[in-house]
Symmetry: C2
Subunit: 334 residues, 2 copies
């Protein structure tokens, strides 16, 4: 998968203890400009990998195209990996009702809310989680509405051959400027297709969000505006997308499982940029450290409030400092 091609030096996030490296994460980064050109990278920008939930802005495009008047919070929840708080669930329920669907129509499966307080509340009330609590329930509610508005069957909306999923795969290829046979299909944690494509392709998709053009521009703009206007809905309390977006002007950011990250960045010294990165081992804890290092390398001012999202020192359960985090993301400019 890596190390077979000639690539630049990969990035590393090193968790130290007592001054010694304890664990090391390897990272690959691609940066694409508003014109679709790859302008910088670190490690293997050709790495074919799964963006997972970082694909949600693409998966929401058929909805944004079919429902131009949809309230921004409902479009945002369709792009979200939400934390299952009551605020999130209320918006999902509203979007779900819009297509005449119910919880029974959701095919995402069920897991406890990501938000610890929401999960504890369920336990206290002795209630089991429902598919509404699944972090992807907004995406699924949006997919059901996109089906109804396009005249596609709701039945089988998660299947690879369903017209909605076929269209989403095409959109990955079109927006990522990769041929369709370079968009590989797996199945995601919520049972819809998960597409894999080269890292530079996902960076290009986020660059399109940062600098929309062509026939999809209005829908891309609606998705960008919805995400940046509703950072809480995109993730939840204390989670990276939610905390980072309000701190960086013109940033739409979306996490994906297994430590993928996509950022659409409108205001940099290099103009609008799209960024995609993947931690090779899927280690989620490395993500905020890499995000800040990349933003800084791209000339975005990194404030103390932003640094607090990726602390350079580690403390134990007793509050004692036990280690640190060293970040090496040597961006190579094209």
């Amino acid at each position: 998968m890596t190390g077979q091609r000639e690539t630049g030096q990969a990035g590393r996030v090193i968790f130290t203890r007592g001054g010694l490296p304890e664990s090391i994460h390897t990272v690959h980064v691609a940066v694409v400009d508003g014109g679709g050109q790859q302008v910088a990278s670190c490690g293997d920008a050709d790495l074919v990998t799964f963006p997972r939930s970082s694909s949600k802005p693409v998966q929401a495009l058929p909805l944004a195209l079919a429902a131009p008047e949809l309230p921004g919070d409902e479009l945002a929840i369709a792009c979200a990996s939400h934390a299952g708080t009551p605020e999130h669930l209320a918006v999902v329920a509203r979007l779900l009702a819009r297509s005449g669907s119910t919880v029974a129509d959701l095919r995402c499966g069920t897991h406890p809310p990501f938000d610890p307080a929401a999960a504890a509340d369920l336990i206290r009330r002795n209630e089991a989680p429902t598919p509404l609590h699944h972090n992807c329930s907004g995406k699924h509610a949006g997919m059901l509405l996109a089906c109804v508005l396009n005249g596609w069957p709701r039945e089988g909306y998660t299947e690879h051959a369903h017209p909605l999923q076929v269209r989403i795969r095409e959109l990955h290829a079109e927006l990522g400027s990769v041929t369709l046979n370079h968009v590989h299909a797996g199945t995601d944690g919520c049972s819809v297709p998960a597409f894999a494509l080269p890292l530079h392709g996902m960076a290009r998709i986020f660059a399109r969000l940062a600098a929309p053009s062509g026939p999809l521009a209005p829908a891309l703009e609606r998705v960008f505006q919805a995400m940046t206007a509703h950072p809480f809905l995109i993730a939840g309390p204390g989670r990276l997308d939610t905390t980072l977006m309000p701190l960086v002007p013109g940033l739409a950011a979306k996490m994906g499982a297994e430590a993928f990250y996509g950022m659409a960045l409108r205001e940099t010294p290099h103009g609008p940029l799209g960024i995609a990165f993947k931690v090779q081992d899927g280690g989620e804890r490395a993500r905020p450290h890499i995000a800040l290092a990349v933003l800084e390398a791209l000339g975005v001012p990194v404030t103390e409030e932003m640094r607090a999202l990726a602390p350079a020192t580690l403390h134990n359960w007793a509050g004692r400092e036990v280690g640190g985090v060293e970040v090496e993301v040597p961006l190579k400019w094209a």
Copy 2:
């Protein structure tokens, strides 16, 4: 840290999705025989790293030496990273009382029980966790008793300069056959010193547990017997040490944070062996896969019950198969 020296090929655990690699963990392994000779390795057996809680059998030795009549369950809980169930807490409380200590004397800090059912019970009862629930509370209770029996102050028992911690550092060097200046000190999640040493040193320590000899043999034997007689106390419901030990004759196994693993193995075609491995990125999910691959490579029969601990297929929240796990641990024999 790695890749600077000439080393054998490292192992890999590859999580796949739709037939493509999604995330990759790198692993280093050392195997030492009953005579203390390194007999096999994979990757960098000289890697200096922190065994974390895999050190607990060593940290329990001063207790095993000072209290030869201590009940096996109490010695086991001193070696444990326990899950905080009522069964675990009862044994910790008994051990703690033996030195006239109370929960207020524990310096481990506080975290919710690892066992989800025990954690949910606390939430339902609206109770906050106490230091007793910390996975290391048994180790700390054992350290307090070792202090009292040795005439050392209980005060400051977690400090690097305390006679107990000085002795534990020396034991790492003696049993690992490394010079004391190759045993580096950091601070652990529970505030006691965490020692780092070459991987082969930790494998040698587990080989001593598998084949005790010399003046420490009786204490090593008591620790081995306590661990293997009480696998539930060592970890907890569904956790690897607890489930694996009863399935492998003559195995004492101990997990450490950041995906370290130590195994003392009495019955193999190569005689008694000690094994230590570290997943470079700290990815805990790779551990059962590597443990089984190493056991198999060493000639230990791997049963279906054992394979169930490291499933080769991955399922999503809706129960659908979405991926798999490929394991490459090319052991190189010395």
